[in-house]
């Protein structure tokens, strides 16, 4: 497990504790944005990981939104 994976898990646990889907979306968008310079400078391993983390955050947000989606 790489340091970035550990950081991702820590943030994910923290966000799950907070349960606010918007925080997940922000984290996901931030990961996407952060991956841009990594791709630009051909640091592909970290860049790819960041897009995966982004998807994990966005998916978590969608699940929480759906779970909360009551009239």
């Amino acid at each position: 497990m790489k340091p970035q994976d550990i950081l991702f898990i820590l943030i994910l646990v923290f966000l799950i504790y907070k349960k606010n889907p918007k925080y997940f979306v922000f984290a996901g968008l931030f990961c996407f944005a952060l991956s841009i310079p990594f791709f630009q400078f051909w640091i592909f391993f970290t860049a790819e990981r960041l897009t995966w983390y982004a998807v994990a955050f966005i998916l978590s947000a969608i699940i929480i939104f759906i779970a909360d989606n009551k009239n």
Binding site: P37, Q40, W42, A47, E48, T51, W52, I58, I66
Partner: protein
Amino acid sequence: MKKIIIYSIFGCLILFIFRNWFSASLITGSDLSILYKSQLLHKSVHLFAWETAQSSGLGGSITSLLWLYVMSNTPLVILTRIFGPNYLLIERFAYFYPFLIIGIVSAFFFAKKIFSSIALSIFSITIYLSNTYILMLSGGGQVIIAYAYAFAPAVLYIFIKLYETALERDKKIQFFSQIILAGISMALEILFDARIGYIMLATVMLYSVFIALHRLRNRKSYSYIWTAHWLAIFLPIIIALFLHSFWLLPTILIGKNPVSEFGAAYSSIDAVKFFSFAKFENTLSLLHPNWPENIFGKVSFMKAEFLIIPILAFASLLFIKKENTLAKRHILFFALIGLMGAFLAKGANDPFGFVYIWLFKYFPGFAMFRDSTKWYTIVALSYSILIPYSASNIYSWLKSKNKYFFKPNIINLQNIFAIVLTSYFLLLISPALFGQLGGTFRSTRIPREYIKLERFLSTDKRFYRTFWIPRIQRLAYFSNNHPAIPANDFFKVNSPREDINSLNKSETNNLLSLASVRYIIVPYDSIGELFLTDRKYDKNVYRKTINEINHISWLKKIDGFGKIGVYEIMNPKDHFWSPQPNLKINYSYINPTKYQLNVNSSKAGDLLVFSESFDKNWVAKSADGKLVIPSVKYHGKYNSFLLPKDGNYNLEAYYTPQKWVNIGVIISSMSLILICGSLIILKRQKQ
């Protein structure tokens, strides 16, 4: 006035991107060969279970692909009647213009269902019709798949409407009309492309579950909601299945897995891994892995600027709190299918690539997706909704912030955002705007050599095959009477060098003779896609191939075809022939599944060889049907019939699954009449 300006800008942009389609020159793509006059005049709307061009030119069953033949042949036959055999006009009206019209209309109605704003709907169509995936797809000449892609939003639109009426107890007639419409739309989508049809089926089922679960949580009439949703899913599927009986019935009755029939290149896990060109970052960014060169297998490094696309798309989730539940559900649904589409479109690549492989191996129907990029369709569908939604909310948000900054009418925050966003999207597709895309976005010229070769072959009434080294050029002529064999497929190799090595083997002359090959052709690679070194045209490879073939003793060079090398093989076998010299055979071609034969002077145990790929469903039967001779394998590859007694025979060689195709066509036609009749009756009752 505002509407006219929006429509005009959109129209100009689409016209500019696809400008080559409106030129007066010939268009081809790597998957779109040209059709000569003689080929157009022989096109037919009749459906046959056997196709001479299948199995690399040696003939094969096509029952599982008949839907494709309906869509590729019917427009050609109709338009040949209207325009005459003018391929320049026909290819435009058969493929390119319908794609644009269907795409614009279908995406517009779909977007209008989600947004009420015209501007957002137009933005949505622009994303849907000018992203890198569809530009590569249409540029590569995959026109029928492009049809399916264009029609996909209409399918979703019709199903969304269906689920809306599903719960209104006082609109039962409307509900059943919608079910029929949904069934017809699904049937059409499968007709355009069965794989995209499958993707859309998965999408509408997911939508139904999504909506049903929400409704179940908020209402008490559980049984009514479940019943309505089950009906709204399964009745359209049943209608679509009945309309597709013409290929489903024979495919089921033949009882073989149609994908495994095409060989390991289509059904193996290695093939799935090989064809997983797109990485997760590509699919999430709606970036086709071959953009912009569109060279098969050449995947470029990730273009970082495309990652703003998923940021824009998923930023939509930040704005849904203020929405009513329906709009919120839509955004959540599209975000979910966007992720799902991106995950599947990357195929066997990380992360969790084993999921795709498991689905390919075990999930019903998933075996069609050797090439996972078809799943880009739902990413495009999703982003065409999410991005305009985000953009409009960001625009409104910036507008609300203007009071804190500056408030001029034209140069303000929201307008700067609109300009930056437009410029960004134009920058992404700049290769299309600057004419740097190939395929159908570039004009093609037919060299004189090819016209001469077409005349030479089409006027020769004898049956034989042509053998193309390394493979068939897209300007090549072929027909049922002269099927073309790609050498790479025949020898199972990958380069002209290996083809020559195979040709130099002692047994090759006999192998080609058995395959009824009369001419070996080394094409003039005028488009530069056959003789390659590092994926670029290399004329030395072409020259070397020609030089080496010139030295093969059993080939005789035919002059007069310029840069196309044509070599004749002496005494190739006929379509029907016998190893016993006493046998006298006369035959006539009726259609690809039927031949009339007169066999004279035969002795018991004589063999009648039919040089098409072996299929146990071929039989030779007498006119009265009393004698039925099954096909047995000859030389490991071809059909043959063992004649049981001395004497003369009047036989019919017949591919038996054709009778199931005929029954299937009747069921499909009757279903269509019944469904249309029901729709008319329901409409009248509603009035």
